[in-house]
Amino acid sequence: MAQPMRSLSALQRFYSRKPLNTRHNPLLRRCLCSIDARSLFSTCLLLAAVACATANMARAQEPPYFVTYSEALEEPGNLEIAQKGLTGEPKNSNAFYSATFELEYGAKAWWTTELYLQGQATAGDSTIFTGFRWENRFRILPSEHWINPVLYLEYEDVNGADKSVLEVTGHDSIADLQGRNADGRGDVSRTMEGKLLLSSNPKGWNISENWITEKNMMGGAWEFGYAVGASRPLAMLGNGRDCTFCRQNFSAGAEIYGGLATVHDFGFQDTSHYAGPTLYFNMPHGPTLGFSPQFGLSSDSAGVLWRVKASYEIQQFRDLFRSKEAR
């Protein structure tokens, strides 16, 4: 994993520095124009489409959360390709769209590993690559209990222009969404993040609580955050017909999340919080689509954040790399 991380760091540094003078070098200009953040995501999406075309797809089995994590891990050998989008228009700032491209792989039945590539476009500003994250989730107990704990460990390498709001910790606030890209992209932070994910499934509901702890490796205090979600499928029974818009293909819920300041000033002072309803549509033998409007609850929060998600699960992705004899 070390080599890809170095490559991604180099990519991020490439996007973080000032533009090169390419006026007198048409070849260099053509090369640089062909590698912008949009083409990076387009390439990723193209690769995803090729992978989808050569493998079985299925709906992803997970509760409809955008920030909260449940106990659900990726099935071993499966690869989920997802695009999480977030858009909003913070007060006194331009509208933005943040795109997070995810590759989630079930390494074991008890271990899921995931790579995120992130970027954003701000109206009247620019489109930039903002960094990457590598996360791992480990199921701690071998069997189901009333509350099921999962350990989450993540390494982040993102710059200050990141607007993905994949979680809220410390004193994260609306100011993080209002800055100019040129100001934020040079401010790269490398962060370790740990979460304790607790999840229960009483009577068809899923209730998940996350405790978030984050430490910037380049300095700064320990920061904390939380996320809580509850959800339920719209129908508990499967249908004999192969229908697309049956109720059991939809699940709805709500989530609330926010920051809890730092180890020095733990609490709700100067922190941002969001809450909103969530909806997932699991198309049979197709993608999962998600949507959620999330509303700011404090003066440090943005007014409304609109989230969308599209994900494909490629079943038994690892079998594509096995010889025909092994299959």
């Binding site: 299925a58 099935e75 039945a109 071998p142 068809g204 029974l237 004999g240």
Partner: protein
């Protein structure tokens, strides 16, 4: 002194990990509590449940166990004598808990009625006696 503490910590962590791994190595069937083993399938024998279970099986289980449930890529057949002789309660326990060390994930995220429908579908499949010898058990 610090060195001794470090060694003790490593030893304790190693012993705890070994104990967990040894405990996890038993067959899942031995772990099923009597109360779970005795549970009956509320949808047993219902044609609509079998049909819905077939759809759910195709979406969630066929990727590993094969469209025909005969197992694939070294993963177990669900038409085996062993599955046939398991009670509905034992299969429900396995779907709920999984067998993580053997690669079977927990399907607790599926609603319980859907898990019972899958079991109803499995019961409708013809038995394949050769399956027990051919592939490993979950």
């Amino acid at each position: 002194m610090k060195n001794l503490q470090l060694r003790l910590t490593v030893l304790i962590l190693f012993a705890a990990s070994a104990a967990i791994l040894l405990a996890a190595d038993n067959s899942w069937l031995h772990k099923v509590p009597a109360a779970d083993r005795a549970r009956g399938n509320p949808y047993a024998g219902r044609p609509e449940a079998v049909s819905a279970g077939g759809n759910l099986f195709a979406q969630n289980c066929a990727q590993c166990h094969g469209v025909d449930a005969e197992g694939r890529h070294g993963r177990p057949s669900l038409r085996s004598e062993r599955v046939a002789h398991s009670t509905d309660g034992e299969l429900a326990w396995l779907l709920r808990n999984g067998s993580l060390r053997k690669g079977m994930p927990s399907w607790n995220i599926l609603p319980e009625p859907e898990r019972w429908q899958i079991i109803a579908y499995l019961r409708s499949l013809p038995r394949d006696n050769s399956a027990d010898a051919a592939v490993p058990h979950p």
